[in-house]
Amino acid sequence: MSAFDLQKKLVSGDLKVTEAANLFLSQHEQVDSKVNAFVELEKEKVLKQAQALDELSAEQRQSKKLFGVPVAIKDNICVEGTETNCASKILKGFTAPYDATVISKLKEAGAILYGRTNMDEFAMGSSTETSSIKKTANPWDLERIPGGSSGGAAASVASGQVPLSIGSDTGGSIRQPAALCGVVGFKPTYGRVSRYGLIAFASSLDQIGPFARDVKDAALLLDVLAGADPKDSTCSEEAVPNYLEAIDKDLSGLTAGIPEEYFIEGIDPEVEAKVKEAIAQLEKQGVKIEKVSLPHTKYAVSTYYIVATAEASSNLARYDGVRYGIRSAEAKNLNDLYFQTRTQGFGDEVKRRIMLGTYVLSAGYYDAYYLKALKVRTLMKQDFDNAFKKVDFIVTPTSPTPAFKMGEKVDNPLSMYLSDIFTISANLAGLPGVSIPCGLTQENLPVGLQLIGKPFGEETLLQVGHQFQQATDHHKQSPLL
């Protein structure tokens, strides 16, 4: 059942919130020992929230857009009084002293905060393998990775454990795992959703967004999450449209841009075929298809790994063992304390990125790397500005390949980085993007279709995605677990 239908049923009282919560908990018990999507899920906490919601009057329920609907939370979003670790040893024992703004909004909307999902350490990775806590499996093939960094969030929805979850996307961390797990993952425009309470990775790129089984549910959740926030000065004042109204319009009059730079050598032939079928389907539904060019696409990964690591090296300087998290026990002086705490607390990938970021910002290299990357970022943004003069949205594959095997890329960081090649540009340009299931390969692995929109063009993406799903049933496929 969709979150949309579930909410209706719970508001009407046809189904008690406690009953629904128990159904989800029993699914969790059946499948999560195989999938390992969650790093923490306390049954009592869930049922306590459910009982409190069941006590609300019919009138109080009406106004709550997510009444009784469980929403899983990525382990880098602060929930007051709950441990939040970013799947890192360095934040072991850290209890969030306040709610992230998105958490306050979920509570206000009557959602059940349903456990924390696994992720790559500090959201740095594309496979959830850098988590210091556990490995999450792809529900479609337990020997494969779920994508990352929000791998637990995607797998929790794909395995039917929750109808909705929230994650964060810095270079594709919502869209890529959504594609690999066969669910919908939406990264909003930079500034559309407050980042207050999201533990920072790269502040000019990070955005929180929804995971769902279908686009309508993603619209429902985005509607709750979006909007200005005095606690995040980079959060936009732009009015939030009614996303659920926007999705019902048909697609005639819209133009889609197909960038030739996204159909390159190295892309899996089955992925390419599925995406092309989806484009043909959109055309059948009245969308005009046009070729566009985004000539700087091939520089996206380089630009990203300079900008993101530079920002990360600065953001992660705060983990010094003084105010929270673990502290090395052996340190004899303050400098020792910094060195030992950080060396013991961070995993290899995080260290690698801090090193790279420190290097590109260091004296003598700043202009050659960091400033250069910021200039290329401008060129990439201009590519999109030019394309959006002709088209309403852009269609690409989300990931060049379906889910790969666990361990396949861990020893080769560069090949892991290249798996984000199609998602990174939207972050650098601050644009909204969504991944939508568009079929299964012969090995029964999901393929994702990515739609990229204009700044604050969420409505168009949701409309196109929803209309596509009205005419197709790729999103109705479920893994056998």
Binding site: Y305, R323, N333, L337, M355, Y359, P413, A429
Partner: protein
Amino acid sequence: MSISKEDVEKVAKLARLQFSGEEVETFTSQMTDILKYIEQLNELDTEGVEPTAHVLPIQNVLREDKVTNGKPSKTIFVNAPKEEEHQFKVPQVIE
């Protein structure tokens, strides 16, 4: 451009990280690969291009200077590895 072991050791110091000899070797080779790849940016002429540090045209967001966070300090100190009288305790700083 390749990066030397000495470069890696220097950057590690700046980043307050320690590595064993073997780790320095691995990082040197991995960072060399990544930096080589990144150098493709030099193909582009960026003369006269303005840098983009931030995509939104937001500047100087101001608010009234009023206290809005009413949380007691104990919610913060509950996370302190070591605390004394509501202050973070650290090892000796000055020898």
